[in-house]
Symmetry: C2
Subunit: 176 residues, 2 copies
């Protein structure tokens, strides 16, 4: 994994891909699939995400205030759905789905070796957790896998239907 400058993080999340979210509690790591997230600021990169209180990850995230957001390419789509269809209450998902946890630098939850980008995060605002399960995260450290070239991401339309990235368009933007 190669370190990614923090101001570039938004480019990976703004398109709205399905991501994996890892947590760790009492020495045990878990992972869930997540589609409900948005950028909140560029630098430091802030992200808002919704983790349902029905998800096993909710308690770990609320208690430890740490997570990793990992971005899978389309080749991992089957595993992403398996992760989404199971609970860390019942199984060790890393083992069950053959995902490789790697130690992170700033947080306890692991990176995922198979994902092309990994973002180490801490929870910085919990005001909307009680009512909406919405956490505001700050990305402390970011990594990409230089071996995965031009990865295509998947975008969830509900009920297991995903749009895969297709054509890339470049238009004249004033964005610096």
């Amino acid at each position: 994994m190669r370190e990614l400058p923090l101001p570039k993080v938004f480019q990976f999340l703004e398109p709205g891909p399905v991501v994996l979210l890892t947590t760790a509690r009492k020495g045990r790591a878990n992972v869930m699939a997540m589609s409900w997230h948005t950028l909140v600021d560029f630098e430091p990169p802030l992200v808002a995400c919704v983790v349902s209180s029905a998800d096993y990850s909710f308690d770990a995230l609320r208690a430890t205030k740490e997570c990793v957001i990992a971005v899978p390419a389309v080749e991992l789509a089957e595993k992403v759905v398996q992760v989404g269809n199971s609970s860390g209450r019942d199984i060790d998902k890393f083992e069950a789905f053959n995902l490789t946890p790697l130690p992170a630098e700033r947080v306890k939850p692991p990176l995922i070796a198979e994902c092309f980008a990994n973002f180490e995060c801490v929870v910085v605002d919990t005001r909307l957790v009680h009512k909406y399960c919405l956490f505001v995260l700050e990305v402390l450290k970011a990594w990409t896998d230089p071996k995965q070239k031009n990865p295509k991401t998947i975008h969830h339309r509900g009920y297991g239907t995903f749009a895969v990235d297709g054509e890339i368009m470049r238009l004249k933007s004033k964005m610096r």
Copy 2:
């Protein structure tokens, strides 16, 4: 425009498309491009979105607490970038970019006739507006254009680069 049942709204926003956001203040409508949004709940559909205080739309949204989220297909990409590169401070964007405002039913900001989905929204939570410019919206009424079949959306990767929807994958999900 045909009415869309509210429980179906998430399917249009969860994939993370670039959307247009309309506001209206003192009898004048405006529109901006927006990529920073996420679902927060299914029903009633709640959406969190970030509208920068530097955007002309910010004051209108904060003051009126109403907006419309309109989803453009890829054929509108050039106009979306033009909308994003200009400000309602300087021009009437509907006129300048030949977008057609249609009256909404529950809110004052207009629907956009050229977009394949339009969601009438009110602001329901402003606790994170001061610190993050993050608004929580509730969708009161939703519309789709039955004439636009299988629209492809665009996903912003920054600096005017967009991934267009490609292949559609269907995997076995437990989601009901």
